[in-house]
């Protein structure tokens, strides 16, 4: 079947291209319904990735956060019309030590492989999960982003020492909002403190125990562990501030992406015996656990609804570009494309 794929051919320019889908293969055909724009997609759209990366990856369909409806499943495992979330990470092997999202052989859609901006997505059946009814479409669209935070908290839980009285989250964007919310729900005994630089954004973190501006830290402020959700060059500043106020043998989870190397105060990392670990993406297990978590905690999806920003109705290629441009200008929140193309 000749499937239409809406690929970014150069920064700012999306065009319709085509690929052949084998409908008899062991894949599920999903019609995208709601797609969510990630900063990683935005970096391709704006052309802020290094030129050699753009050269090697484009043309490519963007978007790795999205849901859809099953239109065809040769095996009949997924009923037609099932509302599903699509897992963008495609492992090609199993590893006894490393999770699927860290294997160099894994494929990740919208990073070298076509993302979900397609007429029909042909996707491996082990990458499709039915969505609970309780989760609304717009929140479900960014399940992938939430699963990344969920995954990081799991890794933190297995690495961090047992004193978790105070956990700090640096950042006041979407990832920080999600991480703080999940931490508060999953570790209710801990005090969760947010460190940001936009007071109007920090006011949205109503579920956090406290919020501080990064330039106005109170005397004696202290954390047992920390999560960095800042990204870019400022992630260095955030990590160093965490190093300054973290207790001995604390654990720092870094989650923000930076195109450039950032300087880190390694002297104090050594002196305090800090564990610094990185997390990126997520696997199907994280998605599955998160969906169960959503079902058990319906208030979480209600809170997540508050970061739904622009919802753009997409019927044309110019609507797609308009969605990315609206996302560029946004003050906060997730931009969702209601996919009607």
């Amino acid at each position: 079947m000749l499937n239409t794929v809406y690929r970014l051919v150069e920064p700012g320019r999306i065009e319709a291209e085509f690929c052949d889908i084998d409908i008899t293969a062991d894949a599920v055909l999903v019609r995208p319904t709601y797609l969510s724009i990630c900063n990683a997609d935005q970096r391709y759209f704006q052309g802020t990735r290094p030129a050699r990366v753009l050269r090697s990856k484009l043309p490519m369909a963007l978007i790795h956060e999205g849901i859809g409806e099953v239109v065809f499943d040769m095996k009949g495992e997924f009923p037609v019309g099932s509302r599903v979330v699509m897992v963008p990470n495609m492992p090609c092997e199993e590893d006894v030590a490393a999770a699927e999202n860290y294997l160099p052989s894994s494929r990740f859609v919208s990073s070298g492989w076509d993302g979900f901006m397609q007429d029909i997505v042909s996707i491996r059946r082990d990458r499709v999960l039915s969505l609970p009814e309780s989760v609304n479409d717009q929140v479900a669209a960014f399940t992938e982003l939430v699963s990344v935070a969920y995954h990081t908290i799991d890794r933190f839980d297995s690495r961090a020492h047992s004193r978790r009285n105070v956990i700090g989250v640096w950042g006041d964007g979407n990832l920080a909002f999600i991480t703080t919310l999940l931490l508060k729900k999953r570790m209710p005994e801990s005090r969760i403190i947010v460190f940001g630089k936009h007071n109007h954004k920090l006011r949205e973190f109503v579920f956090a125990d406290e919020c501080f501006h990064i330039d106005e830290l109170p005397e004696g402020i202290y954390i047992d562990h920390g999560f960095e959700c800042v990204g870019g060059m400022n992630s260095g500043r955030a990590i160093n501030q965490m190093i300054d106020i973290i207790g001995p043998e604390g654990c720092i989870a870094t989650m923000g992406v930076s195109e450039d190397n950032v300087p880190i105060n390694t002297r104090m990392v050594l002196e305090k015996g800090i564990t610094l670990f990185g997390s990126s993406r997520s696997g199907v297990r994280d998605f599955r656990n998160l969906l169960a978590f959503y079902e058990a905690n319906p208030d979480v999806t209600e809170y997540l609804g508050r970061i739904v920003g622009n919802v753009v109705h997409v019927r044309s290629i110019s609507d797609m570009s308009a969605a990315f441009e609206a996302d560029m200008k946004k003050k906060g929140g997730k931009t969702i494309m209601e996919w009607k193309k």
Binding site: N3, T4, V71, G112
Partner: protein, 236 residues
């Protein structure tokens, strides 16, 4: 019930040296007719997908579809001498095998338009199910010039009001049959387009926005274009 009728009636005489009808030419690794049929097979709203082609090509078409889509339940029947005859054959088949009621919807599509999208098919089904006939179109990019005698211009319609017809064309099958049966033989020979039957008889026909790439493979150039459009396949 909702049916798709894929019209593969052409004999392919315009395709230069290629002697087979156009729907049997390949785009990528599959014949065009297979690509087109797949678009309808994967849409579960259809109760049946009917392919209509010239009698001498029925077995060949069946073999191709079985080879590329094993276990398919596509219905293959003979087309008629004109496009509307072919549609009537589909309607007769539905009537004889499933019964025809006011609600029965028929989505008709050219076998040689394999780039049709899920959205276009869905919008056709939605409108026809609500009782509205519809025609898939795109805004005209070239100025349309009318000539009564083939030598001089008799009219140049305002381009802003002109559209190029594509397919699918969709409607309630019983309504089409009723209107078609009122046509004289002369009218039938002139009214070769299903949408025009509705328009001439005073029924409203709604527009469904098509796609520029929903091309009809008619000329060797179109086939080359289709192959080029597929070139980006490597990242799927």
């Amino acid at each position: 019930m909702i049916f798709a009728a894929i019209l593969a009636g052409g004999i392919g005489s315009r395709m230069g040296n290629v002697d087979k009808p156009k729907q049997f030419l390949y785009i990528g690794n599959k014949p065009i007719i297979v690509h087109t049929a797949e678009k309808f097979i994967i849409n579960s709203r259809f109760d049946g997908v009917i392919v209509l082609c010239p009698a001498q090509w029925i077995n060949y078409t069946k073999d191709l579809l079985d080879k590329y889509i094993p276990g398919n339940d596509i219905i293959l029947i003979e087309g008629g001498s004109t496009r509307n005859n072919t549609i009537m054959n589909a309607i007769d088949y539905i009537e004889n095998n499933y019964g025809l009621d006011e609600e029965t919807v028929l989505v008709t599509h050219d076998a040689v338009r394999p780039f049709v999208t899920h959205r276009i098919i869905e919008e056709n089904i939605d409108l026809a199910s609500r009782g509205l006939a519809c025609d898939t179109v795109i805004p005209a990019t070239d100025t349309i010039v009318e000539s009564n005698d083939g030598s001089f211009i008799s009219n140049i319609p305002d381009r802003a009001k002109c559209y190029q017809g594509q397919t699918p064309q969709s409607f309630r099958a019983k309504r089409f049959k009723t209107l078609y049966d009122t046509l004289s033989e002369d009218e039938k020979s002139i009214l070769t387009d299903a949408a025009k039957v509705f328009v001439v008889k005073g029924d409203r026909v709604e527009l469904v926005m098509g796609e520029t790439f929903n091309i009809k493979v008619t000329y060797p150039y179109d086939l080359q274009l289709a192959e080029i459009l597929l070139e980006g396949e490597k990242k799927c």
